[in-house]
Amino acid sequence: MKLLTCPINGSRPIQEFTYGGAVRDMPAPDAVNDEQWGDYVFHRNGYPEVKREWWYHTASGVWFIAERDVVNDVIVRTYLYSKGND
């Protein structure tokens, strides 16, 4: 069984979680043109490396961040989001 550590609930089976995609910065909508906005909306970094991702513990409703190596599925660390650690 694959485990993921929720910062609130501890180590749980990964089936209890929902993947929320990579952590990304949204540009100010008024400051960019349509093409740049399209780049933000659609384009992703699909390159294999360690990534910062949003994960959601479905049972308890906790969103948090996991750093995960998307090549070998090793979770490096998990923590709650707060301004400053982004």
């Binding site: 993947y19 399209g38 992703r44 699909g46």
Partner: protein, 414 residues
């Protein structure tokens, strides 16, 4: 054991002719370099030579040909998509497939089975009706059928799904749905291209793309630099390595897709059966194995590992649909890499780099498109302009917010 077979096995020298040559050295320069010896790359090489007389072509593969998605898929061929453009494109591919064994002079075991997409709710019946009407409008054979018809054609099915799932209320029936032998598709396109003079280099990995003045100048490989006027990247689940080399932004995210086969059984299941609600699909191969697959793994992962979760959940759904499978053993399971786009449509054609073309975003549905990809990409490379069947699939569509929504017809991986 037949005596002939024994004699064949004992020969010192391999008695069959090789499908294609293995040149031991790369030349310094080619007109066209194709990265990726999957079905798409090899078919493109074949049609470049055959339809456009361009034979100074090298296909490079980091492993062996057909070792990517081409040799890992569940080999379903169909054209019952949701958008008019999608249907027209896939229908061209089905037409090419139907004649491909003759054209390439090799039995590809292309067999029409009939394809059923089961509906377990009113909402999915609505999508089935929508797909049937779009299909019929462009001349593709699809219709909505009720539970009685399904039970008559597939008597082993349990319409109540063992009471564990919502019952089957109907299906989209697509009689031309077919399967073919996927390895043979790669080998015979390779042979066809080779006969026209194309060089196929296995175990040759592209490590960099040389770009000068916004135009492609060649590729770096682990066997040295090769000059080329035109380069196609047809590497499906490896595309994000290539796009990183040239800093090309795409929406591609890679997920694994898993599949399995059971032990071989006497032929009993003629149809291809898909359930979007149960996230499962299956068919029986010519060898008798029941081949099955599911939806994508739920999160990004660039690895071809298999999971017990998958085998367990598939086994459950298999038995929900076909109780007769309850004592059958699973023989193998495996996974492949799927390069996904947000609209479940591919990315094909020109890029901002002159002479550099891309074929990607094939996700879970690219095997059926192999012939039409080859044909349209060859045209695109020869004329430096997208073939009309693929104009909507350009990378630039995302910047223009012009997506080609095929999710409703493509979300269970096949």
């Amino acid at each position: 054991m037949p005596y002939q077979l024994l004699r064949f096995a004992m020969r010192k020298k391999y008695p069959e002719p090789r499908m294609f040559r293995s040149p031991d050295k790369l030349r310094d320069e080619y007109d066209v370099v194709i990265i990726g010896g999957g079905g798409h790359g090899l078919a493109t090489a074949y049609y470049l030579a055959k339809n456009h007389g361009i034979t100074d072509v090298a296909v490079l593969d980091q492993g062996y040909i057909g070792g990517g998605g081409t040799g890992r898929n569940t080999a379903i061929i169909r054209s019952n998509y949701l958008t008019e453009q999608g249907v027209a494109f896939y229908q061209r591919s089905v037409n090419l497939y139907a004649d491909l064994s003759r054209e390439l002079d090799f039995n590809l075991f292309y067999t029409k089975r009939g394809h059923y997409t089961l509906a377990h709710s009113d909402a999915s019946m609505r999508t089935m009706r929508w797909r049937a009407e779009v299909n019929k409008h462009v001349g593709v054979d699809s219709e909505v059928v009720g539970p009685g018809f399904i039970k008559k054609e597939i008597p082993q099915i349990d319409l109540q799904c063992g009471g564990h799932q919502p019952p089957i209320v109907g299906a989209l029936y697509h009689p031309p749905g077919a399967i073919a032998r996927h390895d043979a598709v790669a080998w015979t396109y390779a042979r066809g291209a080779d006969r026209h003079g194309v060089e196929i280099h296995q175990k040759t990995k592209v490590t960099g793309i040389e770009v000068r003045d916004h135009a492609v100048a060649g590729v770096h490989t682990d066997k040295g630099f090769v000059k080329a006027r035109k380069v196609l990247s047809a590497v499906a689940g490896w595309t994000t390595h290539i796009t990183k080399m040239i800093d090309l932004h795409t929406p591609l995210v890679i997920h694994p897709l898993q599949a399995l086969v059971t032990e071989p059984l006497k032929p009993w299941l003629d149809a291809i059966v898909v359930s979007g609600s149960l996230h499962v699909y299956m068919s029986q191969s010519t060898r008798g194995e029941v081949v099955g697959g599911a939806s994508l793994d739920p999160y990004e992962l660039i690895s071809m590992r298999s999971t017990l979760d998958f085998a367990e959940s598939m086994a459950g759904y298999f038995v929900d649909l076909f109780p007769c499978l309850s004592n059958v053993k699973i023989m193998r399971q495996w996974a492949g890499l799927c390069d996904m786009t947000p609209d479940f449509s591919p990315i094909m054609g020109t890029t901002p780099i002159r002479g550099f073309y891309i074929d990607a975003g094939w996700g879970t549905y690219g095997f059926k498109a192999t012939p039409v990809c080859g044909e349209t990409l060859a045209h695109t490379i020869a004329h430096n302009e997208e073939h009309k069947l693929i104009r909507l699939f350009t990378l630039a569509r995302f910047g223009r917010f012009e997506l080609v929504g095929e999710k409703g017809a493509a979300s269970v991986g096949h």
